[in-house]
Structure formats: structure tokens, C-alpha cells
């Protein structure tokens, strides 16, 4: 909410600025290949959705992008904030923590925030404190000034409280500020997690199934919220979501994964019509796309939604 621009320009295809440049990334766990030569480009200011059936590798992709997992092959370049230059998160010391490997918290500091498929809040802290934790990772004051109650530390403390309240208002949780995060309702926890991520002033936010487990009304609010994050805050959004209605209504572009491979990429309308995607969702093989299209001549969102992969399970 630093600057509220009234009309965020729809990212144009002519000369888009790249936020994430992923090339041929392969991630294996023993025998399981959860990402197989996946390449994609994310552009500044867009809402890019990643869809695919369960186990397709969507979360693995997120974890690779945030340094939780290190892919065996391929490269990932990042320029999260406007004006950053593209840097490899796998090979640049800027992203190395204590252990000479990519550190999650440094990726966050370079402007990438995320939420988790299974909500991961700090349940024993209040909603306000959860956000403050995020905001305060951008602050400077150390333990000694905190113990002595130095003026600059007090100022930072006040700033973080104010910012946290701003974010609570942004996601509509002001009334729950002093409730423990663990005691919030499910949908509220999802929004709180988004607010905490926003507190770190990201250029890119990665949302892993933010609508899972929420009711239709909450889903509409959430779609609105994501749009506002994208437009008002100028944050690029990478979104995993099983709810096709939601995805098709807010995403600018989609990437479809299946069995760790990218099978399609494009505008929502094109994806809806893509036979390979329909096949992946309906469980038919690619050899008989005809059958799929005849069965579903005009596949609409609801049909995709009610496919075998609808509603990811939370385990």
C-alpha cells in the first residue's frame, strides 16, 4: 500500500519485464521426479497461476523458487522488485546463508514472500504479532537497544505496529488483532498469512492454494483481495489454485503442470480450450484428445473444477 495507483496497466506482451526466469529446472527426490525440465517466465505486475492435478509438482515449484529445495538441474533467476537486476538464486552469494547454499530468508529479503498450502502461522502469537514478525524482518534495531528502550527502537516498534494495523485493515481482520492466530477461523487464517507475507514488502508474492477450504463468499473476497494486492500494491502474484472459477477470473496467464512437466502455458481462455490440459484433468491419455473434446465440447470452468483433481487435500 505504499503507493496506490489507480490503474495498474495490464502487463503487455510486447516487452515485459521479467521477475522470475526459470529454465529447465529439474527436481528429484530419490526416484520421484517432481519437476522435470520446467521453464517459465513470470512478468512484472502480472497474476500468473500455476495449475495442475494433485502431485503435479506445483508446491515443489514454489519451494524451488523460494530456496526451500535446491533443484538438481536448471537455473532460476530473480528480480523481485522494480529496478533489481536478474540474479541467479542458486549461484549468487547474495542468496547464500551460513551454509553456502540458498537461504530462504534471503530470498524473502530480496522481495519474495509466500504463503503455505497448509497454513503455517505462528499460532501462539496474536494476529497483530504475526504480521509484526513479518514487518520487523525489515528493521534494524538489535537486542541491546530493545533492552534499553532506545528511542529509535521505540520508533521502529511503533512503526511496525502501525504498519501491522494497516495490513490487518487491508485484509479485513482489524477486529481480530489481539486474538491468537491459532484461534482464528480458517478463512481468517488464510488472510492473515497473506497479510504477514505482505508485511515483508515483497515485489512478488507466492500464494499456495489460498482458497482451499474456504466457502464461496470467502472465495469471492479472496479473489478481490488478490486483485487489490496486484493492483494497489503493485505486487506480482504467483498463484497455485485448484478452484478454476477463481483462477480463470483473476489470472492474467496460466501455467499448467502435470507429472512434473509443463504441459501448457497461456491466457485463461486458451488454456480452457487446450486439449492436453483437459486430458490431464479428466485423466485421459494424450493419445485420445478427440474423445475428451467430444465429451466436453465447450469445457467450462465448473467442469474443470469438478474434475478428479478438484479441491486439493490438505495433508
Amino acid at each position: 500500500m505504499t503507493a496506490v495507483t489507480s490503474t495498474a496497466p495490464e502487463p503487455t506482451a510486447t516487452n515485459p519485464e521479467v521477475v522470475y526466469d526459470v529454465k529447465d529446472v529439474t527436481l528429484r527426490f530419490g526416484g520421484v521426479t517432481s519437476l522435470n525440465k520446467v521453464s517459465l517466465q513470470m512478468h512484472r505486475g502480472e497474476i500468473l497461476a500455476v495449475i495442475g492435478p494433485n502431485g503435479a509438482g506445483k508446491t515443489s515449484l514454489f519451494n524451488s523458487l523460494t530456496g526451500v529445495y535446491t533443484p538438481q538441474e536448471g537455473s532460476i533467476m530473480l528480480a523481485a522488485r522494480k529496478g533489481d537486476e536478474l540474479t541467479s538464486i542458486l549461484h549468487d552469494p547474495r542468496f547464500y546463508g551460513a551454509r553456502k547454499s540458498t537461504a530462504t530468508h534471503l530470498i524473502n529479503r530480496h522481495g519474495v514472500a509466500r504463503t503455505f498450502q497448509n497454513i503455517r502461522l505462528f499460532p501462539a502469537l496474536t494476529a497483530l504479532e504475526n504480521i509484526k514478525v513479518g514487518v520487523e524482518t525489515r528493521q534494524k534495531s538489535g537486542p541491546v537497544s530493545a533492552m534499553l528502550g532506545m528511542p529509535w527502537q521505540r520508533r521502529e516498534e511503533r512503526e511496525s505496529t502501525e504498519r501491522a494495523y494497516e495490513l490487518l485493515r487491508f485484509v479485513g481482520l482489524t477486529a481480530r488483532a489481539n486474538d491468537l492466530a491459532g484461534a482464528l477461523a480458517y478463512g481468517e487464517q488464510r488472510r492473515l498469512e497473506i497479510a504477514r507475507a505482505l508485511g515483508t514488502e515483497p515485489g512478488v508474492i507466492l500464494l499456495d492454494e489460498p482458497a482451499a477450504g474456504t466457502n464461496p463468499a470467502e472465495k469471492r473476497e479472496l479473489a478481490e483481495l488478490i486483485r487489490r494486492i496486484n493492483v494497489e500494491d503493485n505486487v506480482s502474484v504467483l498463484l497455485i489454485e485448484h478452484d478454476m472459477k477463481l483462477v480463470m477470473s483473476i489470472a492474467h496467464r496460466l501455467v499448467v503442470l502435470n507429472f512434473g512437466e509443463k504441459i501448457a502455458e497461456g491466457k485463461p481462455a486458451d488454456i480452457q480450450r487446450n486439449p492436453a490440459v483437459i486430458a490431464a484433468y479428466l485423466g485421459t491419455t494424450n493419445d485420445e484428445p478427440e474423445a475428451a473434446t467430444t465429451a466436453q465440447p465447450e469445457p467450462n470452468t465448473t467442469d474443470l473444477d469438478s474434475g478428479p483433481a478438484a479441491e486439493g487435500d490438505e495433508s
Binding site: T59, F62, R120, V133, A146, L148, G149, Q189
Partner: protein, 736 residues
């Protein structure tokens, strides 16, 4: 079939309970056999009425378990729990605690005192009747009557009976208290026994329970709500009431000087010191001024808390603190006179003072505290918050803080020499250690089983810097113990980093084992590095702290009390600093990594740095404790720093409530106090058993600890209204 299964269950349970009764009967009383009869203790337990009593216990327990579903509705009624707690307190005081310290009464418990008093003609019959000169076992009978009345009124909902029980309970409590003080006046001993005090408190609890029974007809007691209402009604008000009670006892019934010999109350002081050269102000103080000040301070405290006017609050604080100072100067003056004339073997000021003036200081502190609480009331709203933030329970906390502070300042001087040593060398030091460990274990969630190593490092650093180790420091680094504190902090900080850096990747059990190893390494190095640490013999003659600052010269070492006040300053500063730390950016970051390390990292927290800071800050606290320990006791050796001590500190933190600063203090204080306290009350062999029982009960009924951390209580008790498994944090590394 089902019936017979149930019957079997009941038989088993009954047998279990009865067997438990037999075991208890064997445990109570003499444990050893005699030379000619090794079955002596066994027979004494089996062939005596004792067995019947304990079998009765077993039976009662069986009934309670079996019919619990029918009993429990009564137990949750308003007033039931204070009644039960009060009864338990009185039973403990009658059966367990000392009623006199006089060596004329063997054991000093109620039973022994009763039989001694009943046959002594020099004591008034009012007193003797309480101790059973007319009807043997009068105290117990009275207790049974009062409790029975209370229970009947609870079950049958008879307010009249409840009023009766409340009144009777108060009378009995007061009677016992007066009787006991009459006896101790007669026996002319400096009495530190706690029996009568605990009994009167127990009866007060019974009476308040009965009062609630008489007033409330609801089915479900709302204890928390009740406490919040009482303490939130007029913040600070309860403190003013407590101060009044303590002050009145101090002014009317407490000894002011020469306990054990002259025993004068305040009223007798003027007489005792007339013509002894007391200054005008002090003699005015002792004869009438103290009453004026007391009434003024009391009135201001009530006005401040009742009306919440800032002016009254400030006045109350100023008058209260001024009164403390005036009382202390008067005490200094009359005790100097006593010391000069060598009265009761005293040889200087501050000796031979009774409990009265100290209690009065406590009362004045409470009045000042009441004003302080009333003052804070007006400005508690978070300026950044758009809504008013209600802080439930904080009123109670503030009252507790003041009471603890008043106790810490003014109780130790009235304690016996033995207890003063315990307060310094056990309670105080372990409180400081627990505060330090709480940072690591409670806040950051890193289990450290080698914490005592830092204590050792602090102690040995002091020994080195004061030149008492085989290796000597360079001349310019030869320091007094107090000057060694910053060095010890820095060295322990570095040691904390040295331990932390290589072990940070470990979690939970693995970390615990490595820290345990670290603790042992430090100890073994201390044992074996003869040339550096003087091996198992340790360091001798570590000097005691001194301060030479311009006109101020303070030399520690004359009494444990001096050390206590030094320690109190150290603890107080640490608590203040750490309290701020807990609610700062770093404190929240610790909570975050403890709750969910993966999420914390993804939110941008440098977990390595944050964990290292926890280790370092915890370690440096421990180092300060080490400096204090070394310079207080004067000699150290590796045996002071055993694994056992590390584990004890962890136990204190857990017992008090992990992650709660007041909890760590309370836990350490309770568990270090308990064994010393039990020394007098139970046979030495049984001590561990009693401690074990206390810890066991605690973990069953309050698993989150004595004073649970706000940030952790919810973790253990679950979150209201949210039952879905999805909200449970997934352990790191799973299901991202």
C-alpha cells in the same frame, strides 16, 4: 457379562486404593527397623490405628473415583474450590507445619505443642482450651465441624448454614492464631513457625468459600471471571486492602525490637527507648507520627484507587515511599542505640530488629504500589491501536508484582540466618539461572541441557580475574568481582556463540544431547586442566565484592542479607531488560522460530542469527550468576557444576511455565524453597518423595506450569472454537 466386568473393575480399583493406603501407612512414620527387630517399622504401621486411618483414605479415594461423576457437579459450584483449598491448607498446617520453634517442644508440631500446652498451668485457659485441655483434639474437631457445615450448605444450598460456617471458620482461625501467639510469648522464643499463619489463611479461604456459597446459587463457578472482576473493579484497590491488613498487624501485634527477649510491640517502644537519646523525630515517630502517616498513606491509597485521580496517585506514591524511608531511618536509629549498649549481643545497627517495622515498610510499599497501579491505569492504551486493547489479568499481575517486590525487599531481614543463606545461595541464584535458561528453552524453544556450563565459565572467569587461579591475569586486569561482571558477560556470550554455531542445525533431542555433552566437557576440562583451573581442588579465596566510588564504600561479606540485596538488584535489572526483550522484535522472532521455523524463514527471519542470540543472551545471564556465586561463596570447584544442576534448572523453568518470565522466577523459587522447607517438616528420607509428589501433582493439574506464558498457554490447552486439524502447525519439513 457386562455387569461382572464392571464388578471386576471395581474390585480391582478398590484393592488398588486399599493397597495404596497400606503403602502410605508404611511411608509415614519411622522408616527404619531397630537392631533387634528389623520388622519394627512394618509392625508399627500394620498394628496401629494408623493403618485404619490410611485404609479409610483408600476407601474414600475409591468412592471419590467411582462416584466422581456424581460428586463433580458439586465441586464446580461457586465456593467449593476455595473451601477445599482452605481445608487442605489447614490440614497441612495441623499435620505438617511447625507451630513453634522452641526447643522445649520436641518436633514443634501442633500435636506436640498441644500436649505440652494442655498441661501447663501458666497459660490462660482460653489458649489451653484451643489446644485441647478440655476436649482432646479440639483443633481437628473444630476443623471437621466447619468443613462439614460448609459442605452441607454447599450440597443443600442452605445460605444460613454457609453464613454460620463462614463465621465459625473465621472465629476458629483467629482463636488459633491468638492462642499460638500467646504460647510463643510464654515460651519467649523468636518464633518463625508458619503453622498458625497458614492455618488462619486456610480458615480465611474456607470462610470466603462459604461466603460465596451463601451468596451465589449458580451451578458453575466462573473463577477467572470472578478474579478479573475483583481485580479489575478498581485497579490497585486489593493492594490497598492488603496493605491495610499488613500494616495493622505490624502496628498492633508484631514485635518491633529484641524478638525473643523483650518482645515489645509498637506501643512498648516509647517506653523501652525513653531517655536513650532517640532523636526528636524518631521518638515522635514511635509514639504518634507513625499512626498519622499510616492513616494518611492508607487514605491516599484508597482515594487514588477508588477515584482514579492522578493527583491522589502521585501523592500516594510519594507519601508511601517517604514513609518507607522514614521508617528505615527510625529503625537505623533505635537499632544503633540497641547495638551500642550491646543489647541481646548486638554490636551495630540493623540488628535485633523485630518483624514489625519491616512489615510496616511492606505495607507502605503496597500503598505506593496501589497509587502506581492507579496511575498506570489511565495510560494503558496502545497509541497505534485503533481499538482499545483490553489486557485481561494485567491488574492481577501488577498487584502480584508489587506484593512480590515488597516481600523480596522486606521479608528476608526477618528470616532466620538459615533462611537468609538459603534465599541467597539457593533461591536467588537459581532464579537468575532460570531467567537465563528461559530465554533459550522457553522463548527460543531450544532445549539446553548444559546450561550450567556457562555458570561455571562465569565463576571461573571471576576466579581468574581476581587472581585466585593458578594462572594469573596481567596486573591491569586484576579486578574486583563486580568489575568482573562485564568480562564474564562477554566471555559467556562468546561461549554461547561457540556452542550455538556448530549445533544450530540440530533440532530437539539432538540439540539437547549436544548441549549436555558441552556441559560435561566444560566440567571435565575444569577437573583435568590442573595448571589452569587447579583441578578438582578448585579456586580458593575469591574476594567478596566491594565498591569504592568517591565517598561510597561498600564491602560485602558480613551477612547473607547484603548479598541478597546485591542479587536483588541483579535480578531486578535482568527482569526489566528481559521483559522489554520479550516484547521486542527479537522476542517475537524467537516465538516465531519456536512455533514454526520454516514459516519464520519464509517470513525473512534469519534463524541462525536469532538462535545464536538466544544462546548468547541466556549464557551471559548465567555468567552473571556465576560471578555472584563465586564471589559470594569464596571458593569454587568442578563439583558445583554437575549435570544434575543443569537438569534442575530445566525443571525449574518447566515447572514455572516455559517461556514465562514470572513463571521461571516462581518455578525456581518454589522448587529451591521446597526442599529446604521440607527439611524441618518431614523425615529426611521422605523429602524427595514429597518433592516428587508436588511435581507430579503440578504436571497433572497444571501442565503449562505455575504461571503459564500467554504465548504458550493456548498451545497446550488448545484454541477455543477451532477444532479443525488443519490449523495445527505442521512440523518443519512436512507438507509445505
Amino acid at each position: 457379562m457386562r455387569n461382572s466386568g464392571l464388578f471386576n473393575d471395581h474390585v480391582k480399583r478398590l484393592l488398588g486404593c486399599l493397597a495404596g493406603g497400606v503403602v502410605l501407612a508404611l511411608m509415614v512414620g519411622n522408616q527404619e527397623g531397630v537392631q533387634r527387630d528389623f520388622g519394627y517399622a512394618f509392625r508399627a504401621a500394620i498394628f496401629s490405628p494408623r493403618l485404619v486411618v490410611f485404609l479409610g483414605f483408600g476407601l474414600a479415594l475409591f468412592v471419590a473415583i467411582t462416584y466422581w461423576s456424581r460428586i463433580s457437579p458439586y465441586f464446580v459450584r461457586p465456593g467449593a474450590r476455595p473451601l477445599a483449598a482452605g481445608a487442605a491448607a489447614v490440614v497441612a498446617s495441623y499435620g505438617l507445619l511447625h507451630w513453634t520453634d522452641s526447643n522445649q517442644v520436641t518436633g514443634g508440631k501442633l500435636g506436640a505443642l498441644s500436649s505440652a500446652v494442655s498441661g501447663t498451668d501458666g497459660i490462660s485457659s482460653f489458649t489451653r482450651t484451643f489446644f485441647g485441655s478440655v476436649v482432646p483434639g479440639t483443633p481437628w474437631l473444630l476443623l471437621v465441624v466447619v468443613v462439614a457445615l460448609g459442605v452441607v450448605s454447599l450440597v443443600l444450598r442452605l445460605p444460613v448454614l454457609a453464613w454460620l460456617a463462614a463465621g465459625l471458620g473465621l472465629l476458629v482461625g483467629v482463636w488459633g492464631y491468638i492462642a499460638q501467639s500467646a504460647v510463643s510469648d510464654y515460651l519467649k522464643t523468636a518464633d518463625h513457625s508458619t503453622g498458625a499463619q497458614v492455618a488462619i489463611l486456610g480458615y480465611a479461604a474456607i470462610a470466603s468459600g462459604c461466603f460465596v456459597i451463601a451468596r451465589s446459587q449458580t451451578d458453575q463457578a466462573d473463577t477467572v471471571g470472578f478474579i478479573e472482576r475483583v481485580f479489575g473493579w478498581r485497579p490497585g484497590f486489593p493492594l490497598a486492602v492488603l496493605g491495610t491488613a499488613v500494616g495493622l498487624v505490624a502496628l498492633l501485634t508484631a514485635t518491633w525490637f529484641s524478638p525473643a527477649d523483650r518482645n515489645p510491640h509498637l506501643s512498648g517502644m516509647t517506653n523501652l527507648f525513653s531517655g536513650e537519646g532517640l532523636s526528636a523525630i524518631s521518638s515522635a515517630y514511635l509514639s504518634w507520627l507513625v499512626w498519622v502517616i499510616f492513616v494518611v498513606a492508607l487514605a491516599l491509597a484508597f482515594a487514588a484507587t477508588y477515584l482514579s485521580r492522578q493527583a491522589f496517585s502521585w501523592a500516594s506514591i510519594v507519601i508511601g515511599l517517604g514513609a518507607v524511608v522514614l521508617t528505615l531511618t527510625t529503625m537505623h536509629e533505635f537499632s544503633s542505640i540497641g547495638g551500642k549498649s550491646g543489647f541481646d549481643g548486638a554490636n551495630g545497627p540493623w540488628q535485633n530488629i523485630g518483624a514489625g517495622p519491616w512489615m510496616l515498610c511492606g505495607a507502605f510499599t503496597m500503598f505506593a504500589g496501589a497509587g502506581w497501579i492507579a496511575l498506570r491505569q489511565g495510560r494503558r492504551v496502545d497509541p497505534a491501536a485503533p481499538t482499545v486493547v483490553a489486557k485481561a489479568g494485567s491488574n492481577l499481575n501488577q498487584v502480584l508484582i508489587i506484593v512480590v517486590l515488597a516481600g523480596a525487599l522486606f521479608y528476608p531481614p526477618t528470616a532466620t540466618q538459615f533462611w537468609q543463606t538459603v534465599i541467597v545461595a539457593e533461591i536467588g541464584i537459581y532464579v537468575l539461572l532460570a531467567i537465563g535458561l528461559n530465554v533459550v528453552v522457553g522463548w527460543a524453544g531450544l532445549l539446553d541441557l548444559g546450561f550450567i556450563a556457562f555458570y561455571a565459565i562465569g565463576s571461573y572467569t571471576t576466579a581468574y580475574l581476581t587472581g585466585t587461579l593458578p594462572i594469573k591475569p596481567p596486573d591491569w586486569l586484576h579486578l574486583t568481582p563486580l568489575a568482573a561482571i562485564p568480562f564474564a558477560i562477554v566471555i559467556c556470550l562468546l561461549a554461547g556463540l561457540a556452542l550455538g554455531a556448530p549445533t544450530l542445525r540440530l533440532r530437539g533431542d539432538y540439540l539437547a544431547i549436544v548441549t549436555l555433552g558441552f556441559g560435561e566437557i566444560i566440567r571435565i576440562v575444569a577437573v583435568n586442566a590442573d595448571k589452569v583451573t587447579n583441578g578438582p581442588k578448585g579456586a580458593f579465596g575469591i574476594p567478596q565484592p566491594v565498591i569504592h566510588l568517591g565517598p561510597i564504600h561498600i564491602q560485602w561479606g558480613q551477612s547473607a542479607l547484603q548479598f541478597w540485596y546485591l542479587l536483588l538488584v541483579l535480578i531486578g535489572v535482568t527482569v526489566l531488560l528481559f521483559n522489554r526483550l520479550e516484547h521486542s522484535r527479537l522476542g517475537r522472532a524467537w516465538a516465531a522460530i519456536r512455533e514454526d521455523e520454516v514459516a519464520a524463514q519464509a517470513t525473512g527471519i534469519n534463524t541462525t542469527r536469532v538462535k545464536l542470540l538466544a544462546f548468547a543472551i541466556g549464557a551471559s545471564t548465567s555468567g552473571v550468576a556465576g560471578v555472584f556465586f563465586a564471589s559470594q561463596i569464596g571458593y569454587i570447584n568442578p563439583d558445583n557444576f554437575l549435570l544434575n544442576n543443569s537438569i534442575l534448572v530445566v525443571a525449574y523453568v518447566v515447572f514455572g511455565g516455559m517461556g514465562s518470565l514470572p513463571g521461571a522466577i516462581a518455578g525456581a523459587a518454589t522448587l529451591t524453597w521446597l526442599p529446604e522447607f521440607l527439611k524441618d517438616q518431614v523425615p529426611a528420607e521422605d523429602r524427595q518423595m514429597w518433592i516428587g509428589a508436588v511435581i507430579l501433582l503440578m504436571m497433572i493439574f497444571r501442565p503449562a506450569g505455575l504461571i503459564p506464558a500467554k504465548r504458550r498457554a493456548a498451545e497446550l490447552s488448545g484454541f477455543d472454537g477451532v477444532k479443525s486439524a488443519e490449523t495445527v502447525a505442521v512440523p518443519a519439513g512436512e507438507g509445505m
